[in-house]
């Protein structure tokens, strides 16, 4: 069995999750400080890819990164082609998973007791200290849950990925696109093996989420 799809899926999911983790936290933190009207508009834009069909996201990504588009040509010139290359998978997974991280982080930040930050400021703590050593640890549960959810979503990404990077065995194949390709070519046994791998990974992620949730409940109870 060729394990390339597993390896490719994991690295795409991992790299896009890291990207989404920081981008989501950044967006969640700064959007909370914007005036109401701007915030509402930005919120729609940042959450859109959660409700749009992934193929539509893929279409937009092709508009942005296509081989004849300025950004696409620029990136290809830098040795980072996005179309029909595994790196494009990072962009596809990131766009689709971003709202999950952004939304959960925003929820966590909104329930953060702002007087903790005020107390820190009056005590002379720098704003970056307050952010990394107080706000982030206090919001840890929500942020971790967001990270796990967006990793899971990135791992299972199919629509936008197949639009942008297609299916090239040993090059752009991910678990999801492999399942579809094997089934399409009547290799039911091969498709089933990858389905099992997929179920296994999903189960692990769900157990992780449950552990996080029960942990946070315990923290609330104490």
């Amino acid at each position: 069995m060729d394990w390339y799809p597993l390896y490719n899926s994991l690295r795409i999911a991992a790299l896009s999750s890291i990207l989404v983790f920081f981008a989501g936290i950044f967006a969640a933190y700064y959007s909370a400080r914007l005036p109401r009207g701007v915030k509402g508009l930005l919120d729609v834009v940042l959450t859109l890819s959660l409700v749009l069909p992934p193929t539509v996201c893929g279409y937009f990504l092709l508009l942005l990164f296509g081989n004849r588009r300025p950004l696409g040509m620029l990136l290809a010139g830098l040795g980072l082609p996005m179309v029909m290359d595994w790196r494009g998978g990072i962009a596809a997974a990131a766009v689709v998973a971003f709202p999950l991280m952004y939304r959960t982080a925003r929820g966590a930040f909104e329930s953060f007791d702002q007087t903790l930050a005020y107390a820190g400021q009056t005590l002379g703590l720098s704003n970056s200290y307050i952010f990394w050593r107080i706000r982030m640890p206090v919001c840890r549960q929500g942020i971790l849950a967001g990270a796990v959810l967006s990793f899971a979503r990135a791992l299972g990404e199919y629509g936008a990925t197949s639009m942008l990077i297609g299916y090239i065995p040993g090059k752009t194949a991910t678990i999801s696109t492999t399942v579809y390709q094997l089934w399409r070519t009547n290799d039911e046994a091969g498709a089933f093996r990858w389905v099992l791998v997929n179920i296994l990974i999903s189960a692990v992620i769900l157990v992780l989420v449950n552990m996080l949730e029960s942990h946070s409940k315990k923290a609330v109870a104490s």
Binding site: Y118, Q121, G124, S222
Partner: protein
């Protein structure tokens, strides 16, 4: 040690317009909830910015809209204790207190930490997390953290309101002892008149975003001056009035003329009488009038009578008078009885709006 505050902030449906000077050790900010006390503290701390005005602490300008001075909260040297204490839940007691020592040299920190832990009776709790502490211990840690930051001003926002009454008294005693040792000014915010009366010498009353001039606590309770201050100081009876002459007013809600011990200012619109200062009498006399008893309620140590003057304006609910007397003084009185009620002229307080 002095604090000068003169700030304005427009929040759309709420206008903050506060100006006071605090030169004594402990100055109270007394106001009902929603009167802008906490917003005032946030502006002084620098976590909220006023639209215009000036804040000067011990000669250092913290905020001045004209000179475009606005020090960040980190540079203001103000200890701010929130109602919920705001201890960092992810840090131990020791880490919390060390957070207050940013301005102290690294070498001096261990000794200072030990001294503060001892002073605040926290020794042994170094490794505990805030959620493992009792309410009293949490308050001590919050104060220790503030004292560690060596502030020039301490602001306490309703420090005792989150506690039950038994613990509250203990902590109040402890708080007073600590504040006496603190060299700078303390701003004590509360909506509880008795607390302010016991803890502060001077007080500034806030009402719907407006501050009144700072006055002595005793004076506030004897001569509140305004209706808002009177109600905050616990006065339970008031009536709209018309001034007749320097010592006489017509209490319109009650429909009776009253003699006033102090001169009635031209702009007095109300008179107030505390529930303890009404007494029952046998018949007509100075400031005496006949009332119908509406309700007799036995309280723990006294009886509360709700009476309505016979001459009261019909349909006006504020015309009801609340009288609090020792139980034996009003024994035998029932609902529906007619009684004569009197108040001494010196207990009639003329009030501006």
């Amino acid at each position: 040690m002095s604090l000068l505050v003169d700030i304005h902030k427009n929040l759309g449906d709420f206008q903050l317009d506060v100006s006071f000077e605090a030169d004594e050790k402990v100055v109270g900010l007394l106001g009902a909830s929603g009167s802008g006390k906490s917003l005032t503290l946030r502006c002084i701390a620098g976590v909220e910015t006023p639209d215009r005005g000036r804040i000067v602490l011990d000669g250092v300008t913290l905020f001045d809209s004209e000179k475009r001075v606005n020090l960040p909260p980190q540079k203001r040297q103000i200890g701010y204790m929130f109602q919920s204490y705001s201890l960092f839940p992810n840090m131990t007691v020791q880490q919390n207190i060390l957070c207050g020592m940013r301005r102290v040299g690294k070498k001096e920190r261990p000794a200072l930490l030990r001294r503060i832990m001892e002073n605040m009776q926290l020794t042994g709790l170094e490794a505990h997390y805030p959620h493992q502490l009792s309410g009293g211990q949490q308050q001590r840690v919050a104060l220790a953290r503030i004292l560690a930051s060596e502030p020039g001003l301490i602001m306490l926002d309703e420090p005792l309101s989150a506690l039950d009454s038994y613990l509250r008294w203990q902590l109040e005693t402890e708080l007073v002892r600590l504040l006496e040792r603190f060299e700078g000014t303390t701003l004590y915010v509360s909506h509880n008149r008795s607390e302010v009366y016991r803890i502060c010498r001077r007080v500034c009353v806030m009402h719907q975003g407006l501050s009144e001039p700072v006055c002595d606590v005793a004076a506030l309770f004897e001569r509140p001056g305004t209706l808002a201050a009177a109600l905050l100081s616990g006065c339970k009876n008031y009536s709209r009035t018309e001034r007749i002459d320097t010592h006489t007013v017509l209490a319109m809600d009650w429909g009776i003329p009253l003699t006033c011990g102090t001169a009635v200012p031209e702009d007095a619109r109300y008179i107030g009488v505390r529930a303890h200062y009404f007494s029952l009498c046998d018949g007509p006399g100075e400031n005496a009038f006949v009332c119908a008893v509406q309700r007799v309620a036995e309280d723990v140590f006294e009886t509360i009578l709700t009476v309505r003057p016979k001459t009261a304006e019909p349909g006006r609910t504020t015309a009801n008078i609340r009288i609090e007397r020792p139980k034996e003084a009003v024994r035998g009185i029932r609902e529906g009885d007619e009684v004569w009620v009197a108040v001494r002229p010196k207990d009639v307080m003329p009030l501006r709006h």
